[in-house]
């Protein structure tokens, strides 16, 4: 089976180190999403897996075979590029059959394969067209089709949706998800869009400056980010961070004094904490409430309101000038200039120590994937 194993993969260009030892274990059929800020080395990692660039150090295994020195085609990988990279002088049919032709497959076989893939992707009426006669979404499908026909063990996608408009992006995202279900192939998917990451990934790998910051299921990353970076990266709008000091340490929670003077509780692992430690309180915009009845309260003034319809984002400023965002009901009548009391549940707080590492949360919600939930419910 085509598991993909990365063992301490490093990459440097000259003496610039881009990747500093990546370890990843990808199971057959898994949909793994690489996310991270622009320039953190996602594309580089993907190109290493594809065999387009040479691995400086470390081992790459695909299907338990060491492939460091194999050319791309022999690795059984196919790649979909951000710009689609369709051959502009070949029609769709030729674009999709190119790889098979190079591999020396016979015509009838190629024809059958391409027809089949074209049907799956609903592009069978476009086979005679040149890429420039296609819309962005259609080009995207052809690019995916070109990957499918070769029956690769591993699909690599490099920001495949970033050139599409918003509506098409959502639609194609859903289709890629379905395609994964149908093909059951291993997919490694690079994106900087975290909705894509959350919705598509069985597993998300958050990268930061050439390192894997955290790797886990989408909900794991959302509920239990292990660093401040991951906490800030997953979730939109971004998690709010407020500087704080440890005021007192209880058995199952910390009492924090926030930079604006407010006192709050946080249910996290306290074993590594000392009194008066500098920490950061993290609280997601969606966990804040305008009702002041959730336990932990902060007073803030509203500096901007964004109304999205189903929700409104309030941009808040605390008395010590800390900026915060909260998500509230779309029907909220709060407006700019008001000072309001907001509150949150002590269970929903995240706490990060001075090194940016998270203290384990005790009482976080569901972290199970739909598949896992279905299985658990079936057993029960």
């Amino acid at each position: 089976m085509a598991d993909v194993k990365l063992n301490n993969i490093k990459k440097s260009y000259g003496n610039v180190n881009i990747l500093h030892g990546i370890d990843l274990d990808i199971k057959h059929g898994e949909f793994v999403v690489l996310v991270g800020a622009s320039g953190c080395g996602k594309s580089t990692l993907l190109r290493l897996i594809a065999g387009l660039d040479e691995i400086t150090e470390g081992e790459l295994q695909i299907g338990s075979e060491l492939v460091n020195d194999l050319p791309p085609a022999k690795r059984g990988v196919a790649m979909v590029f951000q710009s689609y990279a369709l051959y502009p002088h070949m029609n769709v049919l030729k674009n999709m059959s190119y790889g098979l032709k190079i591999a020396g497959k016979d015509k009838a076989f190629i024809r059958k394969k391409v027809q089949q893939a074209a049907k799956t992707l609903h592009i069978d009426h476009l086979l005679e067209r040149l890429p420039r006669e296609l819309s962005g979404g259609q080009r995207q499908r052809v690019a995916i089709g070109r990957a499918i026909v070769r029956d690769p063990k591993v699909f690599l996608f490099d920001e495949p949706l970033s050139n599409l408009d918003a509506a098409l992006r959502v639609q194609t995202r859903v289709e890629i998800g379905k395609l994964h279900q149908e093909l059951g192939a291993t997919i490694i998917y690079v994106t900087h869009d975290q909705t894509e990451a959350m919705t598509l990934g069985d597993k998300i790998v958050v990268m930061n400056q050439g390192r894997v910051e955290q790797c886990g299921t989408p909900l794991e990353l959302y509920q239990h980010p292990i660093t401040e970076f991951v906490a800030g990266f997953i979730g939109s709008p971004k998690m709010n961070f407020i500087a704080a000091k440890v005021q007192s340490i209880e058995a199952d929670h910390l009492v924090l004094r926030l930079s604006n003077g407010a006192i709050t509780k946080a249910f996290v692992d306290v074993t590594s904490c000392n009194l008066d430690d500098d920490v950061t309180l993290g609280i997601r915009p969606e966990n804040l409430s305008e009702d002041s009845d959730l336990g932990e309260r902060i007073s803030a003034s509203v500096s901007l309101v964004e109304q999205l319809g189903e929700a409104s984002y309030l941009y808040l400023t605390l008395s010590d000038a800390t900026e915060m965002v909260m998500r509230t009901s779309g029907e909220s009548t709060t407006t700019i200039g008001e000072t309001i009391d907001i509150s949150f549940n002590a269970e929903s707080a995240h706490v990060f120590n001075a090194d940016g590492l998270a203290l384990k949360r005790h009482r976080a919600g569901n972290t199970k994937s739909p598949a896992e939930l279905a299985r658990l419910k079936a057993i029960a």
Binding site: A73, P88, H89, A103
Partner: protein, 309 residues
């Protein structure tokens, strides 16, 4: 509803901006061309008067042995000159461009400049230098060839009827190979990296990538290079004139349209110059190039498309 349309003012600014260029183009390009065409239909009397003679200059040039032998000789030589450029200069230019665009190459800018350098030299200097280099009397080529054990193969290439034209063609190739190289190199650089990556992931070897992906995409540039070569070759003159003089020796072995025109128009040694016969040769040169370019446009350009990359 009524609309009152102000009468549009005459667009003087267009005249102002186009005028100077148009004027220069008309006086130094269109007028001489038309006048040449006109002159080719006349005959010049001893006293300098021009009389209209229709196509008789052309029939002389094409069918009267005294004129047609040199004419067909020059045409044939010119064709050979062109073929050598097409078969040697452009393939080498293509090869150099491909090498230059190889990502592993270091010091590419130095190579590029060095190879392009002769193109910027005067043809006169190039011709003179090569004449010196190849001279059997004081050229260094012979010694050099002895030094590397090929001395027996040395010959007075420029002096022999059998090899003079070919040698001159190669000198011209040496000088101008930088042009196709630069044009094709630029075209190769225009191919997006992701396209090449895609073909590598699809399993093509470097050669297959070149043949199936890069070559079709630079075909328009290769076509353009070919037609530029054609026009330049059929207008060539300076190199032959510098190295072999207007007589294009030995025994007219290196005579091409340009040198034939020169002798016909200005006269040389025993030959009397003729305004009208010269114009007829020039007109035929013009027609040859016109037909060549037309063939290119209809047969090649139409089939080869440029692709937005």
């Amino acid at each position: 509803m009524t609309t009152i349309r102000a009468k549009k003012a005459f667009p003087w600014h267009i005249v102002f901006f186009l005028g100077p260029g148009l004027l220069i183009y008309l006086t130094v390009s269109v007028y001489p061309l038309l006048d040449t065409l006109r002159l080719s239909l006349y005959n010049e009397e001893m006293n300098g008067d021009l009389t209209f003679t229709g196509l008789s200059n052309f029939s002389k040039l094409l069918f009267d042995v005294v004129w047609s032998d040199p004419f067909w000789n020059a045409t044939w030589n010119n064709l050979k000159f062109f073929v050598v450029h097409m078969l040697v200069q452009n393939p080498i230019g293509l090869l150099l461009a491909v090498l230059l665009s190889s990502p592993k190459l270091r010091m590419r800018n130095s190579y590029r400049t060095l190879i392009f350098l002769p193109t910027m030299l005067s043809v006169v200097i190039v011709g003179f230098v090569w004449q010196l280099l190849l001279s059997p009397l004081w050229g260094i080529t012979e010694n050099l060839m002895w030094d590397i054990g090929l001395g027996n193969y040395f010959d007075a290439w420029l002096g022999k009827e059998s090899s003079a034209l070919f040698t001159l063609s190669l000198i011209s190739v040496w000088q101008f190979v930088g042009l196709p190289m630069m044009l094709i190199y630029a075209a190769l650089l225009g191919i997006p990296d992701e396209l090449i990556d895609a073909s590598v992931v699809d399993g093509s070897s470097a050669w297959q990538t070149f043949y199936h992906i890069k070559l079709p995409l630079i075909m328009p540039t290769i076509g353009m290079v070919s037609i530029l070569t054609f026009v330049a070759n059929f207008n060539a003159f300076e190199l032959i004139y510098t190295v072999k003089g207007a007589l294009a020796g030995p025994n007219f072995a290196t005579d091409i349209m340009g040198t034939l025109f020169y002798r016909t128009f200005f006269g040389f040694q025993l030959q009397q110059g003729s305004l009208t016969m010269g114009a007829a040769v020039a007109t035929l040169m013009f027609l040859v190039i016109l037909v060549g370019v037309a063939l290119y446009l209809f047969l090649f350009q139409r089939r080869v498309q440029r692709f937005a990359l």
